[in-house]
Structures are given as structure tokens and as C-alpha cells.
Symmetry: C2
Subunit: 216 residues, 2 copies
């Protein structure tokens, strides 16, 4: 009974995700869905794009959080169109929320739409938002065991960002073990190492985005 309902919810979501996808396509927007644990640095990774030489891409952002408009406020400082979705305690974004948010964005003036999902390694994975690519973010302070314990996210990721690498000297994180875990699940996925503090790897992150938008 419970499983049946869950499947119905997912099916309904998939249908709306298709509407989102069609809308994005008609406006020639490339869309990424960023998924990670809370506090892995998704918002700062988005902020760093605007501090890099990325004016060639017109970017819009949708921020998902259970409560507050803190992340949207951070992004709006860069004069970028941004919409905050509050899930009122909900654990993931769904396609109908994204479809509503699109109405508040200047469609036709955006090449790259970045959706920052609710911080959660589990629930967002099952919900297609109509995105073209998924970005999984893990910070080194979370431990190298995450791909083993939470494999589903890594199965569906098009890019994996290992963030906060400036903290490597101060935490017990085995980079090789992490890579093994990720590549064991998704052998061809690109893994980028970044630090939003030192800006190491931010150019790779922005170049990956640029490449996606170009080949969209």
C-alpha cells in the first residue's frame, strides 16, 4: 500500500518533470540539479561562479530549503535572478515546485539554470526535476565512506564535486578510497576537487558548466 502510493507520487512527479524539461528546452536553458548533504557548500559553489570570469553565461538560480530565504539572499547580491522555494519542512524538491518557480524567472534571458536542492543525500535522488545534469557535492569533512553508504546519488550523478579540500590536512579523509567508491558505482563520472576558500578547482567547475551549456 505504502509502496504503491510512493510509486504514484513518483509517476506524477515524472510527468510534471517532463513539462519542466519541455519548457527549459523551448527557452534553450541548460539545467543542473545540485544534490548534497546539508552544509557541503552548494551555495558557496554557486557564489564562486559569479566571482569567476563567467559573464558569457546568463545564469538563473532556484534555491530549495525547508525554511528561510537565506540562500536566495546570498545569491541575489550578485544581481542574478533567483527564486527561493521553501518546502515547509519537506525533505526534497519536486518538479511541480520547479515548474511554479520558472514562472518567476526571466525565461529567455537565462542560459544556465542552477537548482540547489534541499540538503539531503537520500530523498532528492528519486525526484526528477526535469534537469539535464545532476551534480553531487560531498565535502571532505563528511568522510570518504559516503559513496558506499549512500550509493544511489552517485549512480545518477553527471558530475561529482569533492569540496572543502582545504580542510584535508585537518580531517581523516582518504581521497583514494572516496574515488574508488564513486567510480565503483559510476565508472565514467567526472570528479572535480574544489575549495571555495582557496578557489582551487573553481575554474574546473565553471569550465564544466560552460561545456555543458555549449553542448546543451
Amino acid at each position: 500500500m505504502k509502496v504503491d502510493i510512493v510509486q504514484k507520487v513518483l509517476k506524477a512527479n515524472d510527468e510534471i518533470a517532463k513539462l519542466v524539461k519541455d519548457k527549459l528546452k523551448s527557452y534553450k536553458m541548460f539545467c543542473i540539479n545540485m544534490i548534497s548533504a546539508p552544509g557541503s557548500g552548494k551555495t558557496t559553489l554557486i557564489e564562486r561562479i559569479f566571482q569567476e570570469d563567467a559573464e558569457d553565461m546568463r545564469i538563473g538560480v532556484i534555491e530549495g530549503d525547508p525554511e528561510t530565504t537565506r540562500d536566495a539572499e546570498r545569491i541575489s547580491k550578485y544581481n542574478v535572478p533567483v527564486v527561493q522555494i521553501n518546502t515547509a519542512g519537506g525533505c526534497h524538491l519536486e518538479a511541480h515546485l520547479v515548474l511554479q518557480a520558472l514562472d518567476k524567472l526571466p525565461l529567455g534571458e537565462i542560459d544556465l539554470l542552477i537548482i540547489e536542492n534541499v540538503g539531503n543525500l537520500v530523498c532528492p535522488v528519486g525526484f526528477d526535476l526535469g534537469e539535464d545534469a545532476r551534480v553531487a557535492v560531498v565535502s571532505v569533512s563528511e568522510g570518504h565512506d559516503k559513496p558506499f553508504k549512500y550509493p544511489k546519488l552517485f549512480t545518477t550523478a553527471n558530475l561529482v564535486i569533492l569540496n572543502k579540500i582545504d580542510l584535508l590536512p585537518y580531517v581523516d579523509f582518504d581521497v583514494e578510497e572516496f574515488r574508488k567508491g564513486v567510480l565503483g558505482i559510476n565508472p565514467n563520472v567526472n570528479i572535480i576537487h574544489t575549495s571555495c576558500r582557496t578557489k582551487e578547482g573553481i575554474d574546473k567547475w565553471v569550465n564544466w558548466l560552460r561545456e555543458q551549456v555549449k553542448n546543451g
Copy 2:
């Protein structure tokens, strides 16, 4: 419809949680439910108890993870009764899983049962596991905004642990802002600062547990 089903699931869970509670009471076990984001250091906080002078408490552990028995293997090194629950991708523990796990533990030989929930700041909060107290863990690398963005966990917490404080010099974490966030939601909750690396605050954590077991 969807909300209705969710309420039925929660109600069924509450009824089983009552059975768990009765069983714990009949065996005089005090039970805590540890909830946090993935990688905040719950397992290491449990390991540190066994390295502290805590032989006066007979402890049992239930480990929750979507996949793998890694955490149970870590705990079993301390010759402590431990049961791993794998949720097969599920985002939280439920009372019926705990009830089953109790059958695999030496009841009558445990004073303190520690349940480590799946790493998730949202979903575990709604599911009573029959515990006597809830412990919320946040690591400083996750950012001081977590109580504002994910308030529900902090509403129901009996203890808040701010972990990995050895990383404070290397991250942008405002301890005062975090405290304000937590106490704004739950004004009388105890907040303990810990580092599993330097062992700072581990004595406070163990003493808090000892106090709970004593006052049952």
C-alpha cells in the same frame, strides 16, 4: 490523499514506538536517538564513549544506514553489542525496525541503548523510535545556519552537540549565531561543544549520558 497516507504511516509508527518504549522500560534501558546530517561525526562520538572511562554504563548500539555494515563494524571493535539496520536506500529509521533489532540485543544486560539514525536532518525527525531522549549533532563545517534552515530537529532535541570544534579556525562558523539559532527554537536545551580529534568536551558528552541513565 498523500498527506492522509503520511499521517497513517506516522500513526502506525507511533503505535509501534509505544511497544518499543514498553520493552525498553521493562528491561530498564535508557534510549537515545542520535540525528544529524551525514558525516557530522555520530559514529565517532559513540566510539569516543568507549575510550572514555564509561565502564559503569552497559551500552548497546543500533546503527542505521541506507547501505553497508561499516558503522556496526567500527562499533563491534569495542566488544559492544551492536545491530546494523540497513534501510535499503530509505531515508530514516522507523520504530518497527528498532523493535526487530531489539530481538538481536542482549536485553537485561544493557543500561543505555544508543540508536544512530540515518544521516538526514529532515526525515528522521517525524519518526518516534520509542527513545527517551534525542540528540542532535551538527559539525562546524556544516555552517551555523542549520538551526534556522532545519528547525524541526532542534525543536525536539534534548541535547545539541556542536562537533568538530577543532575545525573552527579553518571554517566560517559563527558559534554565537548558531547558539542563538538553537536557543531561539529550544530555549532550555543543553549545548555541548566536542572534538573527537582533541577529545575536548567528550567528558561532558559521557557525563550527560551518565546523568540520563542515572535519572532514567
